[in-house]
C-alpha cells in the first residue's frame, strides 16, 4: 500500500456495499474514518507506511451496516461511489460518505490480508 510519487498505485481491493440506516433524522453508516492529506500520517495506527495519507477505518460500530457489509477495522478506503479517496482532505472524505440523497455507498477498500490471500490462492495453482 506504499506509493511512489508519479507511479500509479495498484492494490488488491474488495468491493463493499453499505446500505445506510436511518437513525432519527440522520443516515448513518456505522463506522469512523481517520486520515486525509491535511492530517498527520504518523499518528495512524493502521497504516504500514507512516507517510500514507489515505483514509482509514478507525472504528466499526457493532452490528451496524458497515460491519454487516464486511467492513473491517483498519481498512483503507480507496474509492467511494467512484470518487477517489487516496488524495482527499478529511472533510472531503466525510462529505463524499455522508451525501444525504444517497442510500447506498459502494466502497473499494484494501487491507493487507487481501494481498496475502490472493498470493496464496495464486500459489496453489
Amino acid at each position: 500500500m506504499s506509493f511512489i510519487p508519479g507511479q500509479p498505485v495498484s492494490a488488491v481491493v474488495q468491493r463493499i456495499e453499505i446500505h445506510k440506516l436511518y437513525e432519527g433524522d440522520n443516515l448513518i453508516l456505522g463506522f469512523s474514518i481517520g486520515g486525509g492529506i491535511d492530517q498527520d500520517p504518523t499518528q495512524n495506527p493502521f497504516s504500514e507506511d507512516k507517510t500514507d495519507k489515505g483514509i482509514y477505518v478507525t472504528r466499526v460500530s457493532k452490528g451496524g451496516p458497515a460491519e454487516v457489509a464486511g467492513l473491517r477495522l483498519g481498512d483503507k478506503i480507496m474509492q467511494v461511489n467512484g470518487w477517489d479517496m487516496t488524495m482527499v482532505t478529511h472533510d472531503q472524505a466525510r462529505k463524499k460518505l455522508t451525501k444525504k440523497n444517497e442510500d447506498v455507498v459502494r466502497l473499494l477498500v484494501t487491507r493487507k490480508s487481501l494481498e496475502e490471500t490472493v498470493r496464496q490462492s495464486m500459489m496453489q495453482h
Partner: protein, 529 residues
C-alpha cells in the same frame, strides 16, 4: 636447602630494605616458620601473608633472639615507607628552615642590585645630558628662551611618568624564585643598556668632544631619549604582562599520590613561569595532601606480593642468567597472582561500606554536639552592657568554655576520617573563637572539618612552598609546546603536568529571520459517518 633459604630471603626483603648481606641466619628461621604456614594453607584457596613488620624494630628484636654478634653492623637505613615518611619530611623541613633563616638568596640580591644600578643609570642620563654642558662650557652656550623651558617641563614630567611606571611594573615583591633567569627581563635589560650606551656614545663623540653651543639641540636630544625610554617601557609591558594573557594552552595537572586533577588555561609562557602559575593555583585548588589516606592501598599492594614466593629450582647461574632469572621470576609471580582466586575485592567493598557508615555515624554525633555547644553562647546585647553581669567573656574565653563539650565528638570524627594530624587543638580553638566573633552558625564552623580544603587553609608548616623541584626534559626557559610534559616534585608527591594546545575554533554564522518561526497543528481527527 641453604641456597634456597638465602635466595628467598633476598627476594622477599631486597625490595624493602637496603640491608647487609648477613641476612642468612635470620632469614632461615623465618623461612622455616613460613614453610609451615604455606604447607597448611596449600589445602585452602587463600594464602595468608605474614603480617607486615616495621623494619627497624624487626631487626633489633631478631638480633637479640638469634644472638647474632654482627647485629651492630647490620642496621638498615630509613626507607621511604609511609610510616617513616613524616620523619624524613621533618628532617628536610628543618634543614630548609635553617637555610632560610641563615642564608639570604645571593641570586636574588644580585638581581635586585643590578636592576637598581641600571635604573639609576637610566634616570640620571637625561639629567646628565642637560647639566653637563652647563658645567663644562657655560660661557659658550647659546641661551635658549621659552622653547627650552617648555622642553624642560616636558622632560621633567616624562621622567616622573617613567618613574611611576617603572615602580608599578618592576618594583613589586617577587612572587617566586625561578631556577633560571627570566629571559624576557634579561633581554629588556640588555636592550635598555645598549640603548643608553649608544646615546652616551653619540653624546660623547658629537657633543662633548666638539663642545656644541646649540643648547636647544641638546635639550631636544635629552627629550628624545626620555621618549624612547617610555616606548621601551611600553615594550616591557607587552612582553612581560600582556603576551601571556591570551589563553593558548590547556594544562592538565595530576597529583601522583591520589590522582586529583585540575585543568588550567595559560598563555604562551616559558616552562618555569607556567610552573609558578600552576603552583600558585595548586595551593588553592587541590585538596591538602593527606598521606594517611594512602596506607590502605599500600597494604593491599603489599599483601598481593607477599603471598607468593618464587623458588629458583635451577640454582643461581652466571651473569646472563641473572637478568633472565629476574624476568622469569616476575613473570611467574604475575601468572600465579592472576590464577589464584583473590578475594581482596570483596574485602575492599565491605571495608569501604563499613567505613562510610562509621563516618556518617560520627558526623551525625558531631553535628549534634556542635549545635548544642553553640546554644550555650549568646552575644551580649547593648542594654546588658550597662548592667555589667558577672560572666562577661571575650571570644577566646567563650571558645574555651564551649570547646570541651564538642571536643570528644570532633576528635573521634577527625580520627575516623584520618585528618587528626591536620588540626591541632590550638587551631581548633582559634577557629572556634573566629566563628563566634563573626556570628557564624555551627554549620559554618564545621565546614572546615567536614570537607578537606585546599592546602592554604592549613598551617604554614603544611605548605612546603620552598621545596618544589621542576623536572623537565626540555630546557625550563623554553616556551610551552603542545605535548610538553614536566614534573613538579615536592617531598612526598609530585604533580605531573601535560600540555595541550587549545583548538583553533572556527565559528560559522547562520542568520535566522525572526519571521521564519512558524508552526502548524498536528491534526488527527476522527469522524464517524
Amino acid at each position: 636447602m641453604d641456597t634456597e633459604s638465602t635466595y628467598s630471603g633476598y627476594s622477599y626483603y631486597s625490595g624493602r630494605s637496603r640491608g647487609s648481606h648477613r641476612h642468612g641466619e635470620r632469614s632461615r628461621d623465618r623461612h622455616k616458620s613460613r614453610i609451615k604456614e604455606s604447607s597448611r594453607s596449600e589445602k585452602s584457596v587463600t594464602i595468608n601473608a605474614p603480617p607486615a613488620e616495621p623494619l627497624l624494630g624487626d631487626q633489633s628484636v631478631r638480633g637479640e633472639e638469634v644472638q647474632d654478634d654482627n647485629w651492630g653492623e647490620t642496621t638498615t637505613a630509613v626507607t621511604g615507607t609511609s610510616e617513616h615518611s613524616l620523619s624524613q619530611e621533618d628532617i628536610v623541613r628543618i634543614s630548609k628552615d635553617l637555610d632560610d633563616s641563615v642564608g639570604l638568596d645571593c641570586k636574588r640580591y644580585l638581581n635586585v642590585a643590578l636592576s637598581v644600578i641600571l635604573g639609576l643609570v637610566v634616570f640620571l642620563t637625561p639629567l646628565a645630558f642637560l647639566i653637563l654642558p652647563h658645567l663644562l662650557w657655560p660661557d659658550r652656550l647659546r641661551a635658549c628662551g621659552t622653547a627650552c623651558e617648555g622642553l624642560y617641563i616636558s622632560v621633567a614630567f616624562k621622567l616622573l611618568i617613567l618613574l611611576l611606571a617603572v615602580w608599578a611594573l618592576f618594583f613589586r615583591p617577587p612572587r617566586a624564585g625561578l631556577p633560571r633567569i627570566f629571559v624576557f627581563r634579561a633581554l629588556l635589560a640588555t636592550l635598555v643598556l645598549l640603548f643608553v650606551l649608544s646615546y652616551w656614545l653619540f653624546y660623547g663623540v658629537r657633543i662633548l668632544d666638539s663642545q656644541d653651543e646649540d643648547y636647544q639641540g641638546i635639550v631636544q636630544y635629552a627629550v628624545s631619549l626620555v621618549d624612547a625610554l617610555l616606548f621601551i617601557h611600553y615594550l616591557a609591558i607587552v612582553l612581560l604582562e600582556l603576551r601571556q594573557l591570551q589563553p593558548f594552552f590547556s594544562l592538565c595537572v595530576t597529583r601522583s599520590t591520589d590522582g586529583a586533577t585540575q585543568h588550567y588555561n595559560l598563555g604562551q609562557l616559558s616552562i618555569q613561569r607556567a610552573a609558578v602559575v600552576i603552583l600558585e593555583n595548586y595551593y588553592k585548588d587541590f585538596p591538602v595532601h593527606n598521606p594517611a589516606m594512602l596506607t590502605a592501598s599500600k597494604s593491599r599492594a603489599a599483601k598481593h606480593l607477599a603471598g607468593l614466593k618464587v623458588y629458583n629450582v635451577d640454582g643461581p647461574g652466571g651473569n646472563n642468567a641473572a637478568a633472565g632469572i629476574a624476568q622469569s621470576q616476575s613473570r611467574a609471580m604475575i601468572a600465579a597472582a592472576a590464577r589464584r582466586r583473590d578475594s581482596s575485592h570483596n574485602d575492599l567493598y565491605y571495608e569501604e561500606a563499613e567505613h562510610e557508615r562509621r563516618v556518617r555515624k560520627r558526623k551525625a554525633r558531631l553535628v549534634v554536639a556542635v549545635e548544642e555547644a553553640f546554644t550555650h553562647i549568646r552575644r551580649m546585647q547593648e542594654e546588658e552592657k550597662k548592667k555589667a553581669p558577672g560572666d562577661v567573656m571575650d571570644p577566646r574565653e567563650a571558645a574555651q568554655a564551649i570547646f570541651p563539650s564538642m571536643a570528644r565528638a570532633l576528635q573521634k570524627y577527625l580520627r575516623t576520617t584520618r585528618q587528626q594530624h591536620l588540626h591541632s587543638m590550638e587551631s581548633i580553638q582559634q577557629h572556634l573563637a573566629f566563628c563566634i566573633t563573626n556570628n557564624m552558625t555551627p554549620k559554618a564552623f564545621l565546614e572546615s572539618y567536614l570537607t578537606t580544603g585546599p592546602t592554604l587553609q592549613y598551617g604554614k608548616d603544611r605548605w612546603l612552598a620552598r621545596q618544589w623541584t621542576l623536572i623537565s626534559e626540555a630546557s625550563v626557559t623554553s616556551g610551552l609546546k603542545d605535548g610538553t610534559i614536566f614534573l613538579l616534585k615536592c617531598i612526598d608527591f609530585s604533580l605531573v603536568v601535560t600540555t595541550k594546545k587549545i583548538p583553533y575554533i572556527k565559528l560559522d554564522e547562520e542568520f535566522i529571520d525572526p519571521k521564519s518561526h512558524k508552526f502548524v497543528l498536528r491534526l488527527q481527527s476522527e469522524t464517524s459517518v
